[in-house]
């Protein structure tokens, strides 16, 4: 396990922050909640809930169109949120930040605005075998629309990219590399920076799916050198329905709109319309204003704690859970990469992941069971799905122990008495 961000032996104590999350104090099925489904969505701290509530109580108006004070106020908050996202990603310009509904919409935006209008028959889109469906299906649409071809970098048994294959597949026809920074199903952290360099060197554009990365490690889009970076607010302790696409300025300015409507136009007549500059050109209709404002609060919240510390804390939980689970007979961990984020995917002999999920749930342990929107990963391992525990800043040893206890109980139920 790569723990290079943490001095050896330095435990990070984030225990005080669990109290920031109101939902964690509610019992589930009469038990203490051990919320370990953070890769699906994180819980929200009081400050984020309050930010959204406060927006509606004190600041609500539509943006970019009112001459009245509240409209200007709401616009300032919304554009202020955009600036906080820029700073969070270390983007060069605030115009490079587009608000979307989430990672999925961000990727679809790039697919339909950039790729669909750029790719030619025979051009290649390179993805990896560990992608989430949202970084597969939009490219399949583009391939159908343009005649481009989808190529897939395989993974090894540990769930790591096969880099030799990457080099073979990357070629003069590669126009786009679309790659996840962290696998949601396996926990693998891809060292994307050198891959981005290699892809840019052959003239390809690069999209990074950061959905599973932003809550666990610092991200710097300029250091990465990627062209596009996508993430969701709700996996970063922010609201659902708000997400971000970062796109390099010169690319974004040249991209045509993909959805038409209000806010994205300059002038409209029945003969023709002209469009606003980016990013407004890509934000047709009234956006999730309160969501953007609350996302900025979520960003402030994680930055105050520190992403390095959050990542180190989650690594410690992952190490504890991995060791405990490895000691159980009949349990196999799916995804054993050398460099992992706080995701523990596993299968238990003789117990279907869904049965395991139900039994864990009865003890208040919330995990995800299934294919995690990564069916090709499951096919790669020849399994229908996994049970996946994923960690966040508010989890603790007690959550890990509850998980392990519940797995043993499931084995007890399924294994012994007849």
């Amino acid at each position: 396990m790569n723990m290079n961000e943490v001095p050896a032996g330095a435990a990070v104590d984030l225990s005080a922050h669990a109290a920031d999350f109101p939902i964690l104090s509610r019992p589930v099925r009469g038990k203490r909640l051990a919320y370990l489904d953070n890769a699906a969505t994180t819980q929200k701290p009081e400050v984020v809930i309050e930010a959204e509530r406060r927006f509606y109580r004190e600041s609500n108006a539509n943006i970019h169109r009112g001459v009245h004070w509240l409209s200007q106020h709401a616009t300032d908050l919304y554009e202020g949120a955009r600036e906080r996202v820029r700073s969070f990603l270390n983007a060069a310009r605030v115009e490079e930040i587009v608000f979307t509904r989430g990672t999925t919409e961000s990727i679809n935006l790039v697919a339909q605005s950039w790729a669909r209008n750029t790719l030619q028959p025979g051009d290649e889109i390179l993805i990896t075998a560990m992608e989430h469906h949202s970084n597969i299906v939009p490219w399949q649409f583009v391939c159908e629309q343009t005649g481009a071809v989808l190529k897939v970098v395989p993974i090894n048994d540990a769930g790591e990219l096969v880099l030799d294959a990457f080099d073979e597949l990357l070629g003069p026809r590669t126009r786009l590399l679309a790659i996840t920074e962290v696998s949601n199903a396996l926990g693998t952290v891809n060292d994307v920076a050198p891959l981005i360099r290699r892809a840019r060197a052959v003239g390809a554009r690069v999209l990074v799916d950061g959905a599973q990365a932003v809550a666990h490690m610092p991200v710097d889009v300029r250091a990465l050198g990627c062209d596009f970076y996508a993430f969701s607010g709700h996996k970063l302790y922010g609201p659902t329905g708000i997400g971000v696409l970062y796109a390099r300025h010169e690319l974004l300015q040249a991209m045509p709109p993909w959805q038409g409507g209000g806010s994205m136009i300059e002038t409209v007549s029945f003969e023709r319309s002209t469009f606003a500059p980016a990013p407004q050109r890509f934000e047709a209709g009234t956006p999730h204003i309160a969501g953007a404002v609350a996302l900025a609060t979520a960003i402030d919240y994680v930055l105050e704690i520190g992403l390095e510390r959050i990542g180190a804390h989650e690594h410690a939980l992952l190490a504890r859970a991995t060791a405990a689970v490895q000691a159980l007979p009949g349990v196999r961990i799916i995804g054993t990469a050398a460099h992992k984020a706080g995701v523990l995917s596993l299968v238990v002999d003789g117990i279907h992941p869904h049965d395991l999920g139900t039994i864990l749930d009865a003890d208040g342990v919330a995990i995800r069971a299934g294919h995690h929107c990564a069916m090709p990963v499951m096919t790669r391992y020849g399994i229908p799905g996994t049970a996946r525990a994923s960690f966040a800043l508010y989890n603790n040893d007690e959550d890990v122990d509850a998980l392990v206890r519940a797995i043993r109980k499931a084995q007890d139920m399924f294994g012994g008495r007849r």
Partner: protein
């Protein structure tokens, strides 16, 4: 953890009959000379099964299934094959309706579900109803002339 203690509601869901049918599903084979076949698929879980039937004179003469899924879906399919074998098709369809109501709605009064009763515990676990009904939807489709059943 000692023996049966601490399982609470889970014991209502995971009764011994279900474990038994999950470990050793009955009528678990394909049927080359079936006259009705349908496939069932639960895209969310990945559960997949095929139901085979032989129907003559309006009566289910033989029934079997193959596939993979969780304990609830496997046991439900196995129990279903036992419950419908030898029954008139009309009765089977009525049983499906009543069984569905048992799991999701108001349980029909006075219906004796026999061994199928063990699946009533699914009522308390709405996320698992689709697991228990997949085989039945597939059976229904097979009787209606084939195709793929989906529950989600």
């Amino acid at each position: 953890m000692s023996g049966h203690e601490g399982f609470g509601d889970l014991r209502e869901l995971y009764q011994e009959v279900i474990f038994d049918h999950n470990r050793q599903p009955r009528n678990f084979h394909s049927m080359a000379d079936a006259d009705h076949v349908a496939e069932g698929h639960n895209p969310l879980c990945g559960d997949q099964l095929t139901v085979y039937l032989k129907v003559a004179d309006g009566v289910v003469q033989d029934v079997s299934f193959v596939g993979h899924g969780c304990a609830i879906s496997t046991a439900s399919a196995s129990l279903m094959t036992e419950a419908v074998k030898g029954r008139p098709v009309e009765e089977v369809e009525a049983l499906f309706r009543d069984f569905h109501a048992l799991l999701t709605d108001v349980p029909p009064e006075g219906r004796d579900f026999g061994k199928l009763e063990v699946l009533a515990g699914v009522r308390e676990f709405p996320a698992r109803v689709k697991c228990a009904t997949l085989a039945w939807h597939t059976l229904h489709n097979a009787l209606e002339g084939g195709g793929t059943a989906k529950t989600e």
